[in-house]
């Protein structure tokens, strides 16, 4: 008994000596957990598992990735991490779609509750079924001008990033389509292949296998840049319509975040590991293979990006009449 006490005391002493000189620099001394708010196998989950594995190489500890799904716009997972201490040992894996959780009543925080890190996102594009009569965006827009509001367009659920992109191209090109909501990108693309809708707006990463398989015909990227896929060059919609830059690009922002209230040391350590991982070869290769654009923003820069997204999403949802909470009451300013 006495011996054990001695051992314990010795261990405690050692630990004290080891930690006392610069307690703050010791983050992280135990494993970190990242709770992804979307399901396993989805884009946000895949990206988090990839980046966490890379960041591990630059940290002395392991990072476990778990999934905490459900709620409204991923609110379950965000509430779960919010309820954990802000010591940097619990991170949240999230995406741009989570900014709507507050106005949809999932939780009551503005998005600046988080200190985000953006790994990247895949650019949206507008595509039509392979056997569609339209082979350029101009033809499609012309047809829509001739019959406003009658050409069915798929773009995930109301208020999703893809829906906002569809709204933006409608405003920019001065047309209206008949927006048909689907539960996600995959069913929307399926509907386009089946000929149920005339066009679909989802991300390049999601459409890539279908474009390569000849099921979908890409018309235009909704980014200023063109894209190369399956031996084709997809033109940018920006070259066709001048006014587009007022509304676009609205890009996915997938990554993770720590409590904004976390200490500066925690933020610095994470940022260092994040930057080192993002600079690595593995991330670049992964992004190229999966049609993702690399982000790499963190901290205030990423917060500013999310603030724009939050304002955009929140007021669009309010306009659509699906926001249950007034964005102004949360302190979200009109864009």
């Amino acid at each position: 008994m006495k011996k054990m006490f001695g051992t314990l005391a010795g261990a405690a002493l050692l630990a004290a000596v080891g930690t006392s000189p610069a307690a703050a620099q010791d983050y992280p001394y135990r494993d970190i957990t990242t709770a992804v708010v979307w399901g396993a196998g989805g884009g946000t989950d895949t990206i988090n598992r990839m980046i966490m594995a890379e960041m591990e190489k630059h940290l002395p500890v392991s990072i476990n990735v778990i999934n905490q799904t459900g709620g409204v716009a991923g609110s379950n997972g965000m509430v779960y991490v919010m309820n954990q201490p802000d010591d940097g040992y619990t991170l949240v894996g999230l995406s741009e779609s989570n900014v709507t959780a507050a106005v949809q009543g999932g939780w009551d925080k503005k998005f600046d509750y988080w200190y985000p890190f953006i790994v990247g996102g895949s650019p949206d594009l507008i595509s039509v079924p392979a056997n569609s009569p339209y082979s350029t965006l101009a033809e499609l827009v012309e047809a829509a001008k001739a019959a406003p509001g009658s050409i069915p367009a798929a773009a995930s659920g109301a208020g999703s990033i893809h829906h906002l992109n569809l709204l933006a191209i409608e405003k920019g090109a001065g047309v209206t389509f008949k927006f048909v909501p689907y539960k996600g990108s995959a069913p929307g693309q399926e509907a386009a292949i089946a000929g149920e809708v005339a066009l679909v707006v989802t991300s390049l990463a999601e459409q890539a296998p279908l474009i390569a398989g000849g099921e979908l015909k890409p018309l235009a990227m909704l980014t200023p840049e063109t894209a190369e896929i399956a031996g084709m060059t997809v033109p940018s919609a920006f070259d066709l319509y001048d006014g587009l830059d007022a509304y676009l690009p609205l890009k996915q922002a997938i990554g993770f975040a720590v409590h904004n209230s976390a200490s500066d040391d925690v933020k610095a350590t994470l940022t260092e590991a994040f930057n080192a991982a993002m600079a690595g070869e593995a991330v670049a290769e992964w992004a190229a293979a999966n049609n993702y654009d690399i982000g790499g923003q963190s901290g205030p820069e990423a917060q500013a990006l999310f603030e724009t997204l939050e304002a955009n999403f929140a007021y669009t949802l309010q306009d659509l009449g699906v926001a249950t909470v007034d964005p102004a009451s949360l302190g979200i300013e009109k864009p």
């Binding site: 409204v72 693309q189 399926e190």
Partner: protein, 503 residues
């Protein structure tokens, strides 16, 4: 032909990948063992085995491995039900009810070992027939399914719910339909998929994401069985047998036509949405009784009767997976549980499913049927010993497993209240002879029906003619109408008169 060959080549690749992975065997042997145990214990069904494993493994391990566990348990449980059918005259699962008809008389005549050997072989061949059909037909159907749009999907979902209600009812067909409609209503809870409006949530945020499939499955299938089992905890009298459990190859060869016919019937029944192994067993048994020269001996210990039932219920597995993988419509109640496992892994079965998953499913089924065959021949005596465990011991264990399974998928206490609530409702529905499977099929297909039906109308600006103007939709609508009309007494009498007049 070239197409079949390329499928076989793809299957070969998937099979090889599976065989060289040592982890495969860990999951496979464990899950087949568990499956047979569940099947062998009266009151525990194949659906329950797959459901509980979905809760446990669904999103904890990679989908590749959870598929091994789920399919292994599925194959094992359908086969395992034959033990108590033969030895106790109590079907271990509803799927092997027809097996008891001839299996038990055989056992009483001292041929128990032979009967078990035959069911093992029949189950093995049956599984392979179903699996082969899955490999070939899934691709043929996938080509067609690319043209299936919302109106067809809506009508197919409705057909699945109605058909399951029609065939699963014990007495009145309307009871099956009522159960299906209750499930349909439950599927309406949550965020509306089209307009993002909350429906029937009563301002409760838990309800926003709707009723989760796994707790509903657990509540509907597990809880009533546990209550029922604990109320009537009696163990039947085990028939002893002295002969060895070996597959009688001469008998198998002699009855090969019967086995092939039953395999095809089983696969076909399995492919019908929401109709499971029990119906397959009975239909095949009925057909066998009608067409066989030996028909008058069915029920008195006919080997042919035994083979008819036992081949068909295992062949049903492959059949049930065809509509699941191609259309996202489960072909049987265990397949519905399997669909839950796909969904929580974010794999949406349907036209755009990754073909590699289908090949892997086929490879797993083949390997699982081999495992089942070997286990059946060499360790059957272990499983027979399990039959002596009193239900008062294993049912509480199952209840604990069920609860953990329900909880672990979503990680919320509300899921447990949901499971218990559904469980008690399901128990009383069982007592009133309302079938429970249509309710679960309703919950699973209801969301699909609601979304696709309303989207069809949305696209057509409310014009109902979309359901007849498309050829596929028109056929499906006709099937739905025919199904309903065929159950109305007035129409049945009219048809009867018409038949007599032409005859």
């Amino acid at each position: 032909m070239e197409f079949v060959l390329s499928q076989l080549a793809g299957f070969g690749g998937a099979f090889a990948a599976l065989v060289v992975d040592p982890l495969t065997y860990v999951y496979l042997v464990t899950s087949v063992f568990l499956g047979i145990t569940f099947g062998a214990l009266p009151g525990l069904t194949a659906t329950l085995a797959v459901t509980i494993l979905t809760g446990f493994f669904g999103n904890k391990i990679p989908l590749d491995y959870s598929l091994i566990a789920l399919l292994g348990a599925y194959v094992g449980a359908i086969y395992g039900g034959s033990y108590p059918s033969i030895l106790l005259n109590i079907p271990g699962t509803a799927a092997s009810a027809a097996t008891a008809m001839d299996g038990h008389p055989l056992a009483k005549a001292g041929r128990g070992g032979e009967a078990l050997g035959l069911t093992t072989t029949a189950s093995f061949i049956g599984t392979l027939i179903g699996t082969f059909a899955l490999l070939v037909f899934v691709w043929a159907l996938l080509l067609v399914s690319k043209n299936i749009a919302s109106p067809e999907k809506a009508l197919l979902a409705l057909f699945g719910i109605l058909l399951s209600g029609t065939l699963m009812s014990e007495d009145l067909v309307i009871k099956g339909w009522i159960a299906g409609l209750i499930g349909l209503a439950m599927a309406m809870v949550g965020m509306d998929p089209l307009l993002s409006e909350p429906r029937y949530t009563f301002g409760w945020s838990y309800m926003m994401s709707g009723f989760q499939v796994v707790p509903v499955l657990m509540g509907a299938f597990a809880v009533p069985q546990i209550i029922e089992g604990l109320r009537h905890a009696d163990v039947g009298k085990l028939v002893q047998f002295r002969d060895r459990i070996v597959p009688n190859l001469a008998t198998v060869r002699r009855y090969l036509p019967t086995i092939t016919r039953s395999g095809v019937i089983g696969t076909g029944v399995g492919a019908l949405p929401g109709v499971g192994e029990d119906v397959a067993g009975w239909v095949s048994y009925g057909v066998g009784k009608t067409v066989s020269k030996d028909g008058k001996n069915f029920g008195k210990g006919s080997v042919e009767g035994l083979l008819s039932a036992e081949t068909a219920n295992n062949a049903c597995i492959g059949g049930a997976l065809i509509p699941l993988l191609v259309l996202g419509i489960p072909g049987s109640p265990p397949a519905a549980a399997l669909m839950g496992a796909f969904k929580i892994n974010n794999v949406i079965p349907g036209p755009t499913i990754d073909p590699a998953i289908i090949l892997r499913v086929v490879a797993i089924l083949v390997l699982a049927s081999f495992t089942m065959f070997l286990m059946g021949l060499f360790t059957a005596r272990v499983f027979i010993r399990i039959l002596r465990i009193p239900q008062t011991v294993f049912l509480p264990v199952v209840m604990v497993l069920t609860t953990i399974g329900s909880f672990s998928v979503g990680g919320g206490i509300n899921d447990l209240y949901l499971m218990l609530g559904v469980g008690f409702v399901a128990y009383f529905m069982n007592m009133l002879a309302f079938p429970i499977a249509p309710l679960v099929i309703g919950v699973i297909l209801g969301g699909l029906f609601d979304e696709t039906f309303r989207r069809s109308l949305f696209l057509s600006d409310g014009d109902l003619s979309v359901f007849v103007s498309r050829p596929g939709a028109a056929i499906l609508l006709a099937l739905n109408v025919a199904l309903i009309l065929s159950q109305i007494p007035f129409v049945q009498r009219a048809f009867g008169r018409l038949k007599r007049r032409t005859a």
